[in-house]
Symmetry: D2
Subunit: 336 residues, 4 copies
């Protein structure tokens, strides 16, 4: 039984993680760590966990956590996460970090987009980007996994195989993404006040969203060439789900069928990624760790549409998938 | 042209009031009064008013308002409202107060339910409760109208005619009400954060909601006997609308048909209240000043269902209806 | 490994059942039975099952099913269900029937409310009403379990313990219930067309809903006295969840604390029913098999509020809970 | 007083048209024409019109309509519309056609995209495309106005001024559009069944949507060069609103500021189109005839975001605006 500690259990990704781990036969959650002074009962924070977990939220030191746990899931704000992860690794734990802190390889890029000097730049190189479909073997060996962002997951799964196969031009890619509101976290803000965002669809952070350099980096790696995408996020009045509509220039002679075949082949043995003819909706993958992808060719432009559940495949499901790989469990454990 | 000032224009009732007044041929809005230090542009606060109003929000004194306006609509928090209304009346304006400050006749009841000593108790007697269907003649003569609460409007319109006709027992009335989220105002709070209240239906403030004594008072007046209702509010994941399901013991021999006929007769000449066979939904009256009512008799219990738009008939539409009565306009002006 | 057949897999309860059974370590789903001529792939009907089930929908005879399965879950329309269940039982299978066909004990009551002569009235007596919190021991021994209706589950769990303890008057109970739209099934109808029911809250079938006699029957059994409830269903613009607000006259001297204590004691060892101080919302139990209950006393009236997920505790979760009891699995298997 | 007949009053555009015309001081609606045999009361079809209109739906001949009306609004399915419009024009009425029948100039393009031979091709040339911001003068003189499609309105208003000013490349334009569900009409279908499309975001008709050639035609006219756009529609789980995110290659040296300035100048005197810095959401224009536009430049790609209410500026509001132009009313009459 692997003993797990969770930092940041009171947010939406924390809730989702606990839901999934409650079903995992090889995990015992032994600590819920918070830095807050008031320590509410977990079921006051997440009533839907009633009957599943009876753990207290505790303000524990690294040392206390190290005594109780073999692995830590850190779902903390960027900056705070790196400050927490570093001592945990030194204390011998494995870490799956759900923040953005270890995703970008270049500390200068991190500093620019997050307006923050990285506190643990030496580990950026060895941290493994936790997208099993691209980096499974390295995840198996990793002690620190940087769990991917939700938007990047949807975009990278749609595009990386086509870039690897040279079926689309690495330049000029446009990713028009749409996300449910849980992606914005649990802190009340005017934009997310129900009567403001219900029945409204909006664009936000166009050209300045922090997931853009993350997509650049991973797709550049897939492509073998440095590329920059245009990424446009939108807010959908629903709880969960991301749909990305990706536009690219196809390689000469590449048809929709050929693109679809390349994707299907790439994901042929993947348990969670499905390529099909039908244009997917986010509800097709809601409450699952799945990603569903379809391809169209319109007037010479390749269009790849992908959907995920932002809280599962886009966050906590991927974290459990990574956990399974790191600890030798079947990859789908707790995820079906 | 009647010149109108609006206090509290930045909330949802303020927005709705401005939308309605924009269509009123006999009103000119001459002042938007705020106590805030920063003075945003109105269309930054309410983008949907673009092209309709170009007024600034201003921090004006009572004297300045009195020079510009003949009537004031006050949509302020309770307490703050009475402190504002009193000098406006002394300066000679008519006032339609959308807060709760002048609804309750007894300052002790106000003090108990609002946890606040009333600052202007002397006017409670002369303030007219602004429900035209019950108090039209008094509203015509009033200089201060207390615009009804949203829940009370839905409950009182359903029950007052039956109490007046002695068709239901004044004792033992249960009002099970359901409201859209705009009724909670525009301030972000955890309960109204989109991913918390979307896709969730909940009860709240059961037995302690401030609209309960307001319903008591007006229904007691209709009945001629002191009565107390059981009032249970619920939150519906939608923007606007209230449905009240009211349960009462029918008088001996009273059938559903007789109750429906009494309601239909009472409202026969009302432009905004409709009594029908079909059980209504809130969308039947959304964006209108209408109230729709239906009756059922189930196992000896009378059930009266009423629906309104909480922001219109339950707030700003009623305010405009009262304004029309106070200033001699056709009652439906700007409300069709 | 218990082999299970499912009838009616293409509806919402069918989907939910498959989701739950996919996680059950002691069940193998061996047949998805349909009477339709076209036999779509399961993932065309339920895209979210991609990667979980690869079974075909098949038009199988009872004999064929009997060869493949030990137990059948029947999620068919009333009438059709009884005609299917009867031969399955004769072929030796256990059956968990999610329709209404075996819930009512009196065929005359069935005939009146369902406008249909029952085709298998002889079994009504021996069928066990599948609410484990009331009938656990009988469910363990049953070969035919009538899975409760969704509204009845929410109302009965709220009220039965109070009736058993003589803490509320069996007469005069009012149940004001609110349900998400999935309760209406998967067939498109004008009332459930998105732009009609979105952003609208409505009452429907007041006094004529078929769950009313079901509630009568089970609460009469709990009370020991014949009683009739007033039941008022409403439609909430959300996918899933039921909240019932139940009104009753408390026994002399019964306080809110005493009622809450009685409920808490009754459910002290139940894994899925939780009694608390906080008024619950449906999201507190969404995607769980839980029921959450709170009590208030307002002006001499007892108010009990309960919430469930209509598709889980109100349908498929309860079916799996019953299955676990009938087959000797831990009651919470696949339900956490 | 202009007398107006409405065909297709029972749909969503019909409802919106009636709401707007109810406020128009210069219009009397004199006929609601249907081809249905059963003739329901208008308030059974549209309960929210209670108290506004008391007209019957009638199955009237062209001759009967001609006797009662000066102008007809036709909100019928394509094909049916042209068959109705042609005799109305011959009888001397002006017509505002809300269908697609008179939008495309080339009958071969119509035949290809609508899979239908046009029944009235001779009028395609003289019909005026009813977008006042581009064709105001011609609309004033027109007897037949083809009211624009909802998606085309949002895309054309965003792009036409930039094409006219040669600030973007006419080739390679991508329009990623998102619409509320009312755009799909009022007929129940599986895709629009509440529990299917609620909480889901999906792409549909990618590359095959009939609004694509309409956008091509009008933008080609604006550009002076034949162009073809890539148009990708999506379905948003909300009632109303369209947001289009348009991607184009800027002309050499064109900055975001210059593009925004060109749009602002083009629409400087337009009452309904607003260009601003803030990225808009659909709620900013909900229930209004407004279009709001913002510009961004990201990594060398121009992004223009526009929002409209699909039922108002995208349908019935535009129809009333066109009506106002055709009959000499102030253009904003009934639209504020």
């Amino acid at each position: 039984m692997v003993r797990a500690a969770i930092y940041g259990a009171s947010g939406y990704t924390g809730l989702e993680l606990l839901r999934l781990l409650a079903r995992h036969p090889g995990v015992e959650v032994t600590a819920l760590v918070t830095r807050q002074d008031d320590l509410p009962r977990l079921t006051d924070v997440h009533p839907s966990l009633a009957g599943r977990f009876d753990l207290p939220l505790e303000n524990l030191s690294t040392q206390e956590v190290a005594e109780r746990a073999d692995v830590a899931f850190t779902a903390l704000p960027h900056g705070a996460s790196a400050a927490t992860v570093s001592p945990l690794l030194e204390a011998g734990l494995k870490v799956i970090d759900l923040s953005a802190d270890y995703r970008l390889k270049d500390p200068a890029v991190y500093a620019k987009w997050y307006a923050l000097e990285h506190v643990d730049p030496a580990r950026l190189d060895s941290a493994v980007y936790g997208l099993p479909e691209l980096y499974r073997d390295r995840i198996r060996e990793a002690s620190l996994v940087a769990n991917p962002g939700c938007y990047p997951t949807s975009a990278i799964l749609a595009l990386a195989p086509l870039l690897k196969a040279n079926l689309i031009d690495p330049q000029g890619v446009v990713i028009d993404s749409k996300s449910g509101v849980s992606g914005a976290g649990r802190s009340p803000k005017p934009n997310f006040h129900f009567p403001e965002c219900n029945e409204s669809f909006s664009a936000y952070s166009v050209g300045v969203h922090r997931h853009m350099p993350e997509i650049d980096q991973v797709l550049s790696d897939a492509s073998g060439k440095t590329l920059e995408v245009v990424f446009t996020p939108h807010l959908v009045p629903m709880d969960r789900g991301i749909l990305s509509t990706c536009y690219a220039t196809p390689a000469s002679g590449a048809t929709a069928e050929r693109l679809q075949a390349a994707l299907a082949e790439f994901y042929a043995h993947e348990p969670f990624v499905h390529v099909g003819d039908r244009l997917p909706g986010t509800k097709d993958v809601a409450m699952t760790n799945n990603c569903s992808i379809a391809v169209r060719m319109v007037r010479g432009r390749a269009i790849v549409v992908s959907v995920i559940d932002n809280l599962i495949k886009g966050a906590s499901g991927a974290a459990v998938q990574n956990f399974n790989l790191m600890h030798g469990f079947a990859e789908t454990t707790a995820l079906i």
